[in-house]
């Protein structure tokens, strides 16, 4: 886009102008120079050189969809801030959101469509977009549509709409939506449970800001969980309440950064979350604790057969501790109980999730201030929003189909299954049996390396889109995503590629997607919202609304509007929580592995951004590499110390990581952050650290089909090597952090 004007041509131009006198403004002195010259004298009308222009858009660094304001100067994006008007994040933004400009200006981005000379060869040849699309069209034409699969991570709602309409029109199955971030935050289980218990498949929203007691089971809501900026904001308000700073209890085997800000950390054993919740419920009702104990008598049926002493034993807690927690909950004015991603990532995850949510029912917290709400989609429900992600069991079924040769063509968007799925699931091997694989990745990631064609998507700062907040704010909100800079390279938004494909295919596909461009589609979406009675800004015409929609960064209700969950699937029926099961025998694999999303890497998608690589982990202060957190007592027993490199062995595989003695973890559990261990994905990500997902057994919770990512046992073996981790804190009480 930015072609250089050579000195020679510049002089020709100036000379030409002088010779031609005053009549001709831009003489065509040299062939083609005119086209180069004009952009230099005619900047975009809204841009003043050196002056910042701010564009409202939507963050796509995680599925939360915060509103952003991007500062651009001379056509370049410089700084991303939160959009103060957007009700979800209210002007705030997290570390990953801040780093978004580095995905735009990443030196390892694909600059055009490429074809790979043999999968896995990493030898790419540029192809013209038309030629690439023709190849895709030819394939689409020749294969049985039922053998086409679109595999995607959590997508922007606009793309989900276009893709699903297109797939339906051509007779292909619905997209398979699965990514590690969503798995680690328990998104699918949250939605599935909400549908069964509350009668609506909407993400629950926990009103932490107005609660006085928060009991969380492994929900790391100040780090990466579901909508971290909104929950961080709520946490700040929770601490700043006029009536006192609230009481926050976090139950999980590891002291996460979220547990670090809790008033009390309860290090329960892995997989007992639901059992503890059942015990608390039984104690509250049986002992008629507080108002909840009296009013909750009607729910006694839910706790039939709950054995408190056995649960206390299984959880590694004293009965007295359970009593204390039950009393704190029952005597609080506005308690709220939160099931987290780690709860869902167990073989009993779904039952546990229900047991925890049932506490909110017993405590009368559904639809109350400081309690639980459901995300409010209206009037956005007229827009097609992305449904719950698929379960891991669905992905396993897909892998089987791929192995059986029932998938002829695979599209991969916004997910990196080769990196993200447990190796034992066998995705990579199954992928080799798919004859034609197309990746939409902007970067050469592990999955793109296993594909035939890469049709690189624009980064989100160059793309159109909309996103219905889910989990939502205190009111319906739809964020508008718009390009803040011109696309840097010859990349294309996947939405426009789908439109182009549909139009070229003609027939039902072209009819289903009648929009000439994705912008026209967006205008259509805006016109749906224009009709709402809740509009936050005045617009007389649909065109005026469309301008306001982009200018404000979306649409949201002018007043709070919250949806109350109705406990349709809860009440009398006993809640069954099975004992957690683990892969690997306790004798050979004495430690339970807790792989957790890194606050900077998320599920690994942040690993190619240097700012995020260099940002220290809040708890260990480590950057740039993978570590394994071991309780000092366990480390001592195994003769391990900080910076020792160890081998972590599970029944499924082994990886290496560097030891961090971590005081805040159960002695029978080790924790490894997810995000490092990339083989591909650019210079900042490649060949650093290891991926704990490789260790996981592909076991699921039979009820939800979710991957039980917290249910693999491991052992540790010494390597007699050391690696000096890049830690902010020194290990000897000296150096930068030493203040005395």
């Amino acid at each position: 886009m930015q072609e250089k004007l050579s000195r020679r041509n510049f002089l020709k131009l100036v000379g030409g102008a002088a010779a031609a006198g005053t009549a001709v403004a831009i003489p065509v002195a040299a062939k083609g120079v005119g086209q180069q010259f004009v952009p230099y004298v005619k900047p975009p009308e809204e841009a003043l050189p050196g002056d910042a222009t701010w564009y409202a858009s939507t963050c796509r660094m995680c599925p939360a969809g915060c509103g952003i304001m991007v500062r651009t100067i001379d056509g370049r994006a410089k700084k991303i801030e939160g959009n103060p008007a957007y009700p979800l994040n209210q002007g705030k933004l997290c570390a990953r959101g801040q780093a978004g400009v580095q995905s735009l200006y990443n030196p390892d981005r694909l600059k055009n469509a490429v074809k790979q000379n043999g999968r896995g060869s990493r030898s790419f040849e540029p192809v013209y977009w038309d030629a690439a699309l023709d190849e895709v069209l030819a394939k689409l034409d020749s294969v049985d549509p039922s053998k086409i699969v679109f595999y995607a991570g959590t997508m922007p709602d606009n793309l989900y709409y276009l893709v699903s309409e297109w797939l339906t029109a051509i007779g292909a199955p619905a997209p398979v939506i699965y990514d590690l971030h969503a798995a680690l935050e328990g998104r699918a289980v949250s939605l599935q449970a909400a549908e069964e218990m509350f009668g609506a498949a909407q993400m629950p929203v926990y009103d932490i800001a107005n609660a006085d007691v928060v009991l969380s089971f492994g929900a790391n809501f100040t780090e990466t969980w579901q909508s971290p900026v909104a929950y961080n904001k709520a946490y700040g308000d929770f601490r700043g309440q006029a009536g006192g700073r609230g009481f926050f209890i976090q139950c999980e085997p590891r002291l996460s950064a979220t547990a670090a800000v809790a008033d009390e950390w309860v290090p329960i054993r892995p997989g007992v979350d639901g059992l503890v919740a059942l015990a608390l419920g039984r104690i509250i009702i049986e002992e008629r604790l507080g108002t909840a104990g009296t009013l909750g008598q009607i729910y006694a049926g839910m706790y039939r057969g709950v054995d408190v002493p056995t649960i206390a034993n299984a959880a590694g807690l004293e009965i007295e501790q359970l009593h204390r927690l039950a009393r704190i909950l029952a005597e609080a004015d506005r308690p709220v109980v939160i099931p987290g991603g780690y709860t869902a990532g167990q073989t009993n995850g779904y039952g546990s999730y229900q047991a925890i949510q049932a506490l909110n029912l017993v405590l009368s917290r559904l639809g109350r201030r400081g309690g639980v709400y459901l995300s409010q989609p209206a009037p956005a429900e007229t827009l097609l929003t992305m449904p719950a992600p698929n379960s891991f069991a669905d992905v396993q079924a897909l892998i089987e189909r791929m192995n059986a040769g029932q998938v002829e063509m695979l599209f991969v968007y916004g997910a990196n299954p080769v990196f993200e799925l447990p190796q034992a699931a066998g995705f990579k091997e199954a992928l080799a049996k798919v004859p034609f694989v197309v990746s939409f990745s902007s970067f050469v990631d592990e999955t793109a390396v296993q594909s035939d064609l890469i049709l690189p998507n624009n980064t989100y700062l160059e793309n159109w889109g909309y996103q219905v907040a889910s989990p939502g704010a205190d009111r319906p909100a739809v964020a508008c995503q718009q390009p803040v800079v011109r696309p840097l390279y010859d990349t294309r938004s996947t939405a426009s590629v789908i439109l182009d494909l549909a139009h070229a295919m003609g027939g039902a596909a072209a009819e289903a997607l009648p929009w000439g461009s994705e912008m026209l589609f967006m205008e259509d979406v805006a016109s749906i919202l224009f009709g709402s009675s809740l509009n936050p800004y005045t617009a007389q015409t649909a065109g005026e609304f469309w301008a306001a929609f982009r200018q404000h960064g979306g649409w949201w209700s002018d007043r709070p509007l919250q949806q109350e969950p109705e406990p349709v699937g809860l009440g009398q029926r006993p809640i069954i929580v099975t004992a957690p099961a683990f892969d690997g025998s306790a004798r050979d694999y004495p430690l339970t592995l807790y792989p957790y999303p890194s606050v900077v890497m998320s599920d690994g998608r942040g690993a190619n951004l240097p700012w995020l690589q260099e940002t220290p982990d809040p708890m260990t202060t480590v950057a740039w590499n993978t570590w394994v957190e071991i309780n000092p007592a366990t480390a001592h027993r195994l003769h391990l110390k900080n910076n020792d490199v160890v081998k972590i062995v599970s029944p499924q595989g082994e990886i290496e990581a560097t030891v961090v003695e971590y005081p805040g973890i159960r002695p029978d559990v080790i924790a490894i952050p997810v995000g490092w261990g990339h083989e591909d994905y650019g210079r900042y990500a490649e060949n650093r650290g290891s991926n704990p997902i490789d260790l996981l057994a592909p076991i699921t919770d039979p009820e939800s089909g979710a991957l039980a990512w917290g249910a693999t046992r491991v052992r540790i073996e010494r390597t007699n090597r050391t690696h000096a981790l890049a830690r902010l804190e020194s290990l000897h009480g000296e150096g930068r952090e030493s203040l005395s």
Partner: protein, 244 residues
């Protein structure tokens, strides 16, 4: 004992004494401020090996302190940036006057005057001055992310948090052009703007009504290493405790 900043002759020169209050009860250690600071101030990346030597250039870091032992263990977060001392130890030791005190209470660093003796870094009790061991590297096109309002520092010079002085100047100039005073909360350094929990508040300590002044008067307020007499411009609010 806290000296009133308004009594100090060095701060009386101007109408403003910029300060910051950080409520440790709200800080969740989420690192939003750290990345935000990198983005705003063109702070370079040094890579794993250099970082392991302690040569990261973060102008703002989150310190984490362990308390107690398993299972009664706690971790506390503390964001620490240049404390913008009123009696700054770094200023007196600079042989070339690259480090100076502004009349609004800021410790300034004049990059093109700095010769890299690192005396200021040794003198700073908060370890908040970063030395550029190498020239910063921004592989093309990462240089396009650079904020044109902030100089990119070269090898051999010291740098540190400026309280986003470029933002302070811009707001002051805008206010002056509009013929009005700067209002409280109008200036937001990058860290305060991004902080999701609103733990970081910036403002004028000379204005008794400003939010930062109100927070500085809190019973929870303290300053880092107060006994050294550096009179920092950053006030911390001790984390609270709820007992049940």
């Amino acid at each position: 004992m806290t000296t009133r900043l308004s009594d100090n002759p060095t701060t009386r020169l101007s109408d403003h004494r910029w300060g910051m209050a950080i409520d440790l009860d709200k800080c969740t250690g989420c690192q939003a401020c750290v990345v935000s600071c990198h983005a705003e101030n063109n702070v370079p990346i040094v890579g794993e090996e250099e970082a392991a030597y302690g040569r990261t250039a973060h102008w703002l870091r989150i310190e984490r302190y362990w308390e107690g032992e398993y299972p009664n263990v706690k971790a506390k977060f503390m964001p620490v940036m240049c404390q913008q001392c009123t009696e700054a130890p770094c200023e007196a030791v600079c042989p070339v006057y690259a480090t100076y005190h502004s009349d609004e209470g800021l410790n300034g660093q004049i990059y093109n005057r700095c010769i890299g003796t690192r005396f200021c870094g040794s003198a700073c009790p908060y370890k908040q001055r970063m030395y550029n061991w190498f020239d910063p590297v921004f592989p093309e096109p990462l240089e396009q992310q650079l904020n044109p309002d902030v100089t990119v520092r070269s090898r051999g010079i010291m740098e540190k948090c400026t309280f986003c002085v470029q933002r302070i100047r811009r707001v002051k100039e805008d206010a002056k052009a509009e013929g009005r005073e700067v209002t409280d909360g109008e200036i937001q350094p990058a860290c305060a703007q991004s902080c999701p929990t609103n733990a970081i508040v910036f403002g004028d300590l000379n204005d008794p009504e400003s939010r930062v002044s109100q927070m500085a008067r809190s019973s929870r307020a303290f300053r880092l290493l107060e006994n050294l007499g550096t009179e920092p411009g950053v006030v911390y609010l001790k984390g609270g405790e709820t007992r049940v």
